[in-house]
Each structure stands twice: as structure tokens, then as C-alpha cells.
């Protein structure tokens, strides 16, 4: 089916950031074994802004996101072409320190995945694996990260309790706190609200609003409403192709491609 469809070049009309580009994705192709999942994706993630990746299931948005911190390295039989650069250096170049890269890219997953440790240990985990043992630094980080994740008030008296005792929404905010603990440049969010109820979702969205500026955020979402609410720029992907990448208002009100229009108006997907 992919072969029979024709894809025109991507339409671009993004709102650029004053601070420049956080991530530059150039001619990016990806294959799972024989099957190509991403086709010539080109996009620049703007610094300090929220970029949403939308599209129907299986369009490759999660795959693309997981390439940004090389999470896809875990998959066997994966082949890529093209470049992704952060501050001018290619993250897929030979000899890149993947561990160092991942420390610059915080990631939040679809389902809250706190470790079976205390809240404190969860947040200090990225530091501890880095060899930081100084109590004052750890304490400081825990407070800052929890403040940033708007969780400090709720858990400050029970930092040593198990993180598994928190509610789903709290767990997800804890995961955000954990992701920002190592003070990354980019925050990657893979459908962070899909397992949460509407109230918890609203809190996470507020949080994204607060965190942007400090971090460049890339968020994959199934909910077009959410993309419209939280993002500055939106990329619409379809069957591995980047169809349109532009500022969110335009994408949702006046898209340049008919496919985008069909999707955002709910005609398919």
C-alpha cells in the first residue's frame, strides 16, 4: 500500500524559536528488518518550544521519538540512514557515548514506570548511576525536580516511601521529575497521558506548559486536542512520511495538505 501511495514533499511553516534548533533531523530513514518505517524525515525541533508529533497509529511517530535518544538501539535488526544532530554533533556517529546522550535527553513513557524504590531514590537514580553520592547535591536535585514536576507539595513528607504507593498521575509526574533530574536539554514524551484520567492529564499538560522554555519538549500524542493545547509546532506523520510540519494553530485551522486536513478534522485515523 505504501508503494502505491504518492507522497509529495513535506509542507513547512514552523514558528521558529529565537534560541535556534535543539535537534536537527535530516533525511532520516529507518528499517525494521526489510520493512521501512520512516521515509526521508526532515525536521528541526526548536529550542525551548513544545513540538507535538501526531498521526494515526503506526505512522512512525513513536519510532522517530525513540530514535532521538537512541532507545531503538535495543531493537534487533534495526537499520537507519540519515542524521540526527544535537548542537552540531551526530548522535548516530560512530563512538558516540549513548549513555551520555541519554542523560541529555530525558524521557517520559506511555505508562508510568517508577522503579520499585523510594520516591527519593527514584529521582536521584539518574545521578546515582552517574556516580554522584554527595547528599547535599542529591537533596537539592530531589527538591528542584519535584518542584518542577509540581509534586513537591504532595510528597515532601514521604520521600522515603515506595514510589509504587503513589497514584497513577502522581507516578507519571514522578517520572517527569526523574526525567528532569539530570537537567537534560530535551524532554521526550511518548504519549505521557494515555494511561491517565482527565484530571491527571490536565495536570500533566499544565506541567508541560510550565516546563517549556526550560527544556525543549517533543511530545508524541494520539489526542489532537492535546497537541492543539500544549504545542507550539506540530508535525503530522502518515505511514512513515512527514506530511506537514508547522505551527500548531495553522495545522489545526488551516493545514496546507489535504491529508492533514482530513486527519485533524477527524475524517480518518
Amino acid at each position: 500500500m505504501q508503494d502505491t501511495l504518492e507522497f509529495e514533499p513535506t509542507a513547512y511553516h514552523i514558528k521558529t524559536s529565537d534560541e535556534g534548533t535543539a535537534l536537527d533531523i535530516r533525511d532520516f530513514n529507518l528499517w525494521y528488518g526489510q520493512k521501512q518505517a520512516l521515509f526521508d524525515n526532515n525536521l528541526e525541533i526548536q529550542k525551548g518550544q513544545v513540538t507535538a508529533l501526531i498521526g494515526p497509529s503506526g505512522c512512525g511517530k513513536s519510532t522517530l521519538l525513540r530514535c532521538l535518544n537512541r532507545m531503538n538501539d535495543l531493537v534487533d535488526d534495526l537499520r537507519i540512514e540519515g542524521r540526527i544532530t544535537v548542537d552540531g554533533f551526530d548522535i548516530y556517529a560512530k563512538g558516540v557515548d549513548v549513555i551520555a546522550l541519554r542523560k541529555r535527553m530525558g524521557m517520559v513513557f506511555q505508562k508510568p514506570n517508577p522503579f520499585a524504590m523510594s520516591i527519593y531514590d527514584n529521582i536521584t537514580y539518574p545521578l546515582r548511576v552517574d556516580g554522584v553520592t554527595k547528599k547535599s547535591i542529591l537533596d537539592e536535585t530531589v527538591e528542584r525536580a519535584l518542584q518542577q514536576a509540581a509534586l513537591w507539595k504532595e510528597v515532601k513528607d514521604r520521600l522515603n516511601d515506595s514510589a509504587l504507593g503513589l497514584s497513577g498521575g502522581q507516578q507519571q509526574r514522578l517520572c517527569i521529575a526523574r526525567a528532569v533530574a539530570s537537567d537534560p536539554e530535551v524532554l521526550l514524551m511518548d504519549e505521557p497521558c494515555s494511561a491517565l484520567d482527565p484530571i491527571a492529564t490536565a495536570r500533566i499538560e499544565e506541567l508541560i506548559e510550565e516546563l517549556k522554555g526550560t527544556y525543549s519538549i517533543v511530545i508524541v500524542t494520539h489526542s489532537m486536542a492535546q497537541a492543539a493545547r500544549v504545542s507550539d509546532n506540530t508535525a503530522f506523520m502518515y505511514l512513515g512520511h512527514l506530511i506537514e510540519y508547522g505551527d500548531t494553530d495553522t495545522i489545526f485551522t488551516n493545514p496546507q495538505k489535504s491529508r492533514t486536513n482530513d486527519y485533524v478534522t477527524g475524517r480518518f485515523g
Binding site: 532507545m71 541519554r102 530525558g106 505508562k111 514506570n113 522503579f115 520499585a116 548511576v129
Partner: protein
């Protein structure tokens, strides 16, 4: 489905050539009928499954009840019967069990034959434990019902458990205190017997601890001499040998003093005797210290019986065996079983977990890992005796022999590690149980959600850090389950142990007060082997039979305790790492 229905005649029409046509006409109704398809009904299968489960449970329950009943009643004191037979013989003994049998008719008297023939040639007989092996040459006697003349339970019959020769059943005819003969007085006898037992324990303590220590030191001096000769040559070692000889002489002196003390106590002990008379009138005069326990079996109150019952259990779990293991305790066997199992866990845990970690986390999944996995599973099906042979050949003879040559040359040709021992037994069992641990660990590892690993990796943790801090803690309860299974398997295994270190009677425990305190080279006793030995290898298997049940009960209890402990630990861990989300 359709084709099946077409072949079936509809209920309304008669079967025959017209059936097919009629079937077409009423097709919608016929299709709704499902009674012909048995599997569509859940009930018959349900009964089958439930029945299989019930059968299994019933068999296990029966087995446990047999073990529990026999094990629990063995130590309960039973009355002594004085049995007069029709031919005038009188025997005394404890009733053990009875069976129906077919007597040899020509050997019976006229009257007896008449009785037996009335019962279609069958008769009932009872097994009496007549004891007094030193006098009778046998412990048991069958008495057929038609031989019985009279059965009484005289009050003055006592049941004696002796240090050697087993049980004595009979009366107390008199006693000797310090060489002076006197009449039997229960209070005095009780007091003097207790004192005599104290003397016995004192002698044993002197021999075991003090003389044992000196023997141990002398042996070490002797080995030092040989080592010096082996390492430095005859001449160079001369001063060392001279020094050592002086030390040995000193020790010998100490030994003489202790030996003299032991002899003194022994001489005193010989003066205190009790005269026992069996039912036929023959008497023996053992030392009081030889009487472990005695009671008037026919006049005991319920409370006294309970006291004896508890005291026997106490001896069973805390003392050493006597009488070729058929009496006394099994403490060395309990110790050996527990020590060997724990040692096995120490070996198998890291080995199995590391193997599974590599197989699941690091190795590239493919044909080779599949082959390895299948092989590991197949290992679990190898007969355990094969492991025993391997353990003997590889661990004991090859590895142990090499260790002996490198580290204990002075003791050769006597093997130190080059024979069966608790170390080799544990290693053999570790090998036997490692597939269980590997399989369980692999399953536990693969059950750790991918999201956990990704969460850790996304935090910038390395693969090893992820495994160490996230995967292993989460998999720990599952790994513990594997350990529990391995422990249960290992603690109950006997066959391979017979080749690699289990013995009928171990002179010393693998852990004692003599340097180097932990003797992994020593052979040991094991409850499983004890069962086999007492039940099937002893001089009198009838005498050992109750012990088989008691020991089985104890072994089962021990395994249950060990498993329960492990399960409690596992559940604690599980609670700690339980996912309480949503």
C-alpha cells in the same frame, strides 16, 4: 461446522436416504442443535479435570496421613503383654502389628488344625516385639491366635532402652550399688540410674572433646613432620621433627592423664549394676549407665506416657543414633541435611543466576541460545545417580585428588578431599538443581516489564546498572521461587549422595571445635539416606521400621520448614516490589 451438520440427520426425520433432503428443509433448526458435539458441553470435561485433581489430592493426603500417623505414634509407650502359649512357652513383648496368614497345616496339632480349617485355612497372627536380642538372638516373634492360651499385662514388667543391644523387656530383680548387692528400690534406682547416666556422659565428653582434641593435635604434629620432610628433605627437617616429637611427648602425657581419669570413672561405673530378669527367668546384669530410659509400661498414667513420648522425641532430634541407627536420635543426620542443603544453595544461587542473566540479558537470542536452553532443560531429566557418578569421578577423584596432591601431600595416601565429602555432595547437588534455578531465573527476568528497563536506560544507566538496580530486584521473588524448588529437590535427593559423601554413621560433624572448625572434606549423615539405611540395610528391618516413618516425618517437616522460610522471605520481597499502580 456446516459439513458436520449436513452429515447429521435432523431430529425430526428418520435416518436414511431421505435424510439429506429433509435436512435441507429444516436446516436452520438443525444448525442450532449442538448436543451431538460433546466438547460444546463443558460439564464432562469439568468432571474429568476435577477428578484428576481430586485423585492427586487424595493420594497425597493418604501418603501424608500414613507418614503422619505412623511417625506420630511410634514414640508413644505401649503396654507389655505376657503371653502364655498353648505349648507352655511364655513370652513377653510389645504388640506391633497383626496379619492374616495361611498356616502350614501338617505342622499343627489336631485341635489347632480344626480351628484353622473352620476359617478356610486362614488364621490371624500378631507380631510381638520380645526384645532381649542378647538373650534370644531375635527381637520379634509371631504368635498365631490358635497358639494363644492366656494374655496378661503384669504391673512389674519394665521396658528398658539400652545403650547397646537394644530394648530389654522384663522385671527388675535387684541391683548393685558400688559393688554391694541389694534389693530393688524404685526411688534409689531412679536416682542411681540418673547418676550413672551423668557418668556416662562425662566419659563421652572426655573422650570426645579432651581426648579428641589431643588426638587432633598429635595428628597435626605428625602431618607437620611429614610436610617438613616432603618440603625440605630428611636432614633439613630434623630440627623441626625433634621439636615436634617433644610436643607429641607432651601431648601423650596429657593423654595418659585424661585416659586415667576415664578409666577411673569406668571402674566406678562398673560397680553400679541392675539385675534384669526376662520372662523366662534368665538374668543379665548390665551397668546402670547402659540404661538410657526405663518405664513400667503397664502402669503408666496418661501424663507419664506423654512425658516419655516427649522425652523420646527430644532424644530423637537432639541425640546421636544408637543400635545401628535403629534407636536414639538423628541429630547428625539433621545437621548434615541442613548443612548440605544450605551449602548447595550457596553454590547454586550465584551460578544459576549468573548463567540465566547471561542467557537472557546478554546473549544474542538465536539458535545457539535455544540449543543451550533445551540442553539445560534436558539436564533436569538426567537420572540423579548419574550426577552421583559424575560427582565422584570429577569432583572427588579428579578435583579432590588434585587438591590433595597440591595442599595435603603429607596425608597421602590417605585422601583428604579425594573422597566423598560434604563439599563434593553439595556441589553435585548444585549441579543437579542448577537447571531449575536457571529456568526459574530466566522466567523471572523475562517477566520484568520492558518499560522498567527502558525507564532505567533512558535515565542514562548502563546495561549492568539497569540489571543491578532495576531488573534483579524486580526479578528476585521469581528467582527465590527457583531457589525454593531447587532446595526442595536437593534436600530430598538421596541416590547421588550415596556416592559422594553420605555415610551410615559419621564419626564427627562437618563443623566442630577443632581447627579448622569447618571440615568440608568430611563425610556426613543425611536423613534421606538414614531412611534407606534404617529401613533396608539394618540387621533387623522390623526394628527399624518405626524409625523409617519417624525419620520420613522429620525430613518432610524439615523441608517444609526450609521452604516456608524461603517462601516468607520471597513474599516479603514481593510486597516490597509489588506494583501498586492505578
Amino acid at each position: 461446522m456446516t459439513s458436520l451438520n449436513e452429515q447429521l440427520p435432523p431430529a425430526s426425520s428418520a435416518a436414511g436416504a431421505a435424510g439429506v433432503a429433509a435436512n435441507e428443509a429444516v436446516a436452520p433448526r438443525a444448525r442450532r442443535r449442538y448436543s451431538a458435539d460433546l466438547s460444546a458441553l463443558g460439564e464432562p470435561a469439568l468432571w474429568g479435570f476435577g477428578g484428576a485433581l481430586a485423585l492427586g489430592i487424595i493420594m497425597i493426603a493418604l501418603f501424608l496421613m500414613v507418614v503422619l500417623y505412623n511417625g506420630a505414634t511410634t514414640f508413644w509407650p505401649k503396654p507389655i503383654d505376657r503371653v502364655e502359649l498353648t505349648d507352655g512357652t511364655v513370652i513377653a513383648g510389645v504388640e506391633r502389628r497383626g496379619t492374616i496368614f495361611r498356616p502350614d497345616l501338617p505342622r499343627l496339632t489336631e485341635d489347632q488344625r480344626a480351628v484353622v480349617e473352620e476359617n478356610d485355612g486362614f488364621a490371624y497372627r500378631t507380631l510381638y516385639q520380645t526384645a532381649n536380642f542378647d538373650l534370644y538372638g531375635d527381637d520379634f516373634r509371631w504368635v498365631a491366635d490358635f497358639e494363644l492360651a492366656n494374655v496378661t499385662q503384669p504391673a512389674d514388667f519394665y521396658y528398658f532402652e539400652r545403650q547397646v543391644w537394644g530394648v530389654f523387656v522384663g522385671r527388675i530383680a535387684g541391683m548393685q550399688l558400688n559393688g554391694v548387692a541389694m534389693d530393688y528400690d524404685p526411688a534409689v534406682f531412679r536416682r542411681e540410674q540418673a547418676a550413672a547416666r551423668d557418668r556416662f556422659r562425662q566419659i563421652r565428653k572426655l573422650e570426645r572433646n579432651d581426648i579428641g582434641r589431643i588426638n587432633n593435635l598429635i595428628e597435626r604434629e605428625r602431618l607437620n613432620q611429614r610436610r617438613a620432610v616432603l618440603q625440605q628433605g630428611e636432614e633439613a627437617a630434623a630440627p623441626i621433627i625433634a621439636q615436634s616429637q617433644a610436643r607429641i611427648a607432651e601431648l601423650q602425657e596429657e593423654f595418659q592423664i585424661l585416659q586415667a581419669r576415664v578409666n577411673e570413672i569406668r571402674a566406678l561405673d562398673r560397680g553400679f549394676r541392675v539385675t534384669l530378669e526376662e520372662v523366662g527367668g534368665r538374668q543379665i546384669e548390665p551397668e546402670m549407665s547402659q540404661i538410657v530410659r526405663f518405664f513400667p509400661a503397664n502402669t503408666l498414667s496418661w501424663g507419664q506416657k506423654l512425658g516419655i513420648y516427649i522425652s523420646r522425641w527430644g532424644e530423637f532430634v537432639s541425640a546421636e543414633p544408637r543400635e545401628a541407627n535403629t534407636q536414639g536420635g538423628v541429630l547428625p543426620a539433621i545437621f548434615g541435611t541442613v548443612a548440605m542443603t544450605l551449602l548447595m544453595v550457596i553454590f547454586v544461587a550465584p551460578f544459576g543466576v549468573i548463567t540465566a542473566l547471561y542467557l537472557r540479558e546478554y546473549a544474542k537470542q538465536g539458535r545457539i541460545t535455544s540449543i543451550v536452553r533445551i540442553s539445560v532443560n534436558n539436564l533436569a531429566g538426567v537420572p540423579s545417580i548419574v550426577y552421583g557418578v559424575f560427582g565422584l569421578g570429577f569432583f572427588a577423584y579428579t578435583m579432590g585428588g588434585t587438591i590433595d596432591q597440591l595442599f595435603y601431600p603429607e596425608n597421602l595416601p590417605n585422601p583428604t578431599f579425594g573422597k566423598g565429602g560434604i563439599l563434593w555432595a553439595s556441589l553435585t547437588l548444585a549441579l543437579l538443581t542448577v537447571p531449575v534455578v536457571i529456568v526459574a531465573t530466566e522466567e523471572a527476568l523475562s517477566a520484568v516489564p520492558r518499560s522498567m528497563r527502558e525507564g532505567s536506560l533512558a535515565c542514562g544507566a548502563s546495561k549492568w546498572q539497569t540489571i543491578r538496580y532495576v531488573v534483579l530486584p524486580k526479578a528476585l521473588p521469581g528467582i527465590m521461587t527457583g531457589m525454593i524448588l531447587a532446595m526442595a529437590r536437593g534436600a530430598g535427593e538421596v541416590a547421588p549422595l550415596m556416592l559422594v559423601g553420605v555415610v551410615k554413621l559419621a564419626p564427627a560433624l562437618p563443623i566442630d571445635g577443632f581447627y579448622p572448625f569447618i571440615h568440608l572434606d568430611r563425610s556426613f549423615m543425611h536423613l534421606g539416606f538414614h531412611i534407606f539405611d534404617v529401613g533396608f540395610q539394618s540387621r533387623n528391618s522390623e526394628a527399624g521400621k518405626p524409625m523409617v516413618f519417624v525419620t520420613t516425618l522429620l525430613l518432610l517437616t524439615l523441608i517444609v520448614i526450609m521452604n516456608a522460610t524461603a517462601i516468607i522471605v520471597r513474599n516479603r520481597l514481593k510486597r516490597k516490589y509489588a506494583t501498586g499502580q492505578f
